[in-house]
Symmetry: C2
Subunit: 249 residues, 2 copies
């Protein structure tokens, strides 16, 4: 039973993950979760556990990570947001906070997540995009990549698209949307799913890049899924091109 004196808060967070070991508290460096928990303590004097919708890896960004936590203090959510943003470092910000029902939980209540992987597909580097895109200079056929992505939509066993060390009991996941969108020199790989395996979006993107350069055909994706072998799929692209865009509830 939830404690009736506690308020349950849902918050949407943006962060530049460049300087962090990822969302989770870790021994080898600073996690975003930890920074947020310290900020809540500074403002409310309460020690809270902030539950994220899920981890993001070292260097991965979020435009709309969702987290939930419980506090006792009777502070207005708008004031709490202002206070947190005043003490948080410039690379983390709380975009919104709202009070939610006692049974809301950022991870367990999540219905879907939208990730975006951004590729700079142009001959020259772009300094302003250096922390949020992966520079791939060779020309990519984004239409072929989009056709390949389309084969991922639906319920499939994604064992071949998970890091081997983290292959779970079941690697069956449902992808609701998978698109490749060109915006000038940038290609966005947009993937929406009900759940993701470790490194899954980065392995999907590496595989799509191999389709984009003509090393694989778009129509080979169903066979890759059936293989359930990590060595059949493409390389894991670097973390810094990836962002958690939205969590659906």
């Amino acid at each position: 039973m939830p404690d009736p004196t506690e308020r349950n808060l849902k918050t949407v967070i943006e962060y530049d993950g460049t300087a962090y070991v990822g969302w989770e508290r870790q021994k080898n460096g600073l996690g975003i979760q930890e920074v947020l928990e310290e900020a809540v303590h500074t403002i409310t004097r309460e020690r809270v556990v902030i539950e994220g919708s899920g981890r993001t890896d070292a260097g991965v960004h979020a435009l709309g990570q969702v987290a939930s936590f419980r506090i006792e203090k009777d502070i207005h959510v708008g004031k709490l947001r202002l206070g947190l943003n005043a003490v948080l470092p410039p690379d983390i910000a709380v975009l919104s906070i709202e009070e939610v029902a006692a049974d809301f939980h950022a991870r367990r209540s999540a219905k879907s997540k939208r990730y975006r992987y951004t590729i700079l597909n142009a001959p020259a580097r772009r300094p302003h995009a250096r922390h949020v895109s992966y520079h791939f200079p060779q020309a990519l056929d984004h239409e072929a990549m989009g056709k390949a992505a389309h084969h991922l939509v639906g319920e499939h066993d994604f064992t071949a698209f998970a890091r081997e060390a983290d292959q779970k009991k079941t690697c069956v996941r449902t992808i609701l949307e998978a698109q490749v969108v060109r915006d000038g020199s940038f290609l966005h790989v947009d993937v929406v799913g009900t759940g993701f395996l470790y490194n899954m979006v980065r392995i999907i993107t590496g595989t799509l890049i191999e389709v984009g350069v003509g090393k694989r055909g778009a129509e080979t994706v169903p066979a890759l899924l059936r293989s359930k072998q990590r060595e059949e799929t493409g390389y894991t692209v670097p973390a810094h091109g990836l962002a958690l865009v939205h969590v659906g509830y």
Copy 2:
């Protein structure tokens, strides 16, 4: 007379100005010009002077700064670009290089410049935009700001929009375009002119912000121009929201 053994090169450069004292070589820190000259020396073994289309201040960015320089070495411009981007730091990149007529000069040949000042006009900070936008949380009336900006178009004496220490013999300049564009939470102040005074776009933007909050009326701009008094116009907004977008020839 230009030396016939020399090649005259025009280059377009993007940089994140956060870490630099500005375009020009200075004693108190690193200028972008200096970093580029060192990179050209590393690749070509020639000591060159790189002329920019104009200065940008400390912290100001460029999406399309143009510079010219002369070299003797018979190196292909595509190879030179690749070489420079390999040795330049991640916050500076050469987008293109082309060989141009001997009389081309990045500053003297420039016909117009386009600047963009970006305001984040939303309650919460946005970490990904922190180096390239000025956070102004109070709601801004961008239509009133656009009307005020429109009064700047044409040939005017911009003394009131120049830093006092730098008011030149003549402060008459021609503005070709001045617009305020809203893109979600971001407001862009886009100004195109044949020439600019020191801090001019930043003082224009500070004045437009004062219109946007209702402190001034859009119709007061002609009187501000006539006053020729710096104390009549708005505050100088910070450098990090400003970018040199394009130089016309």
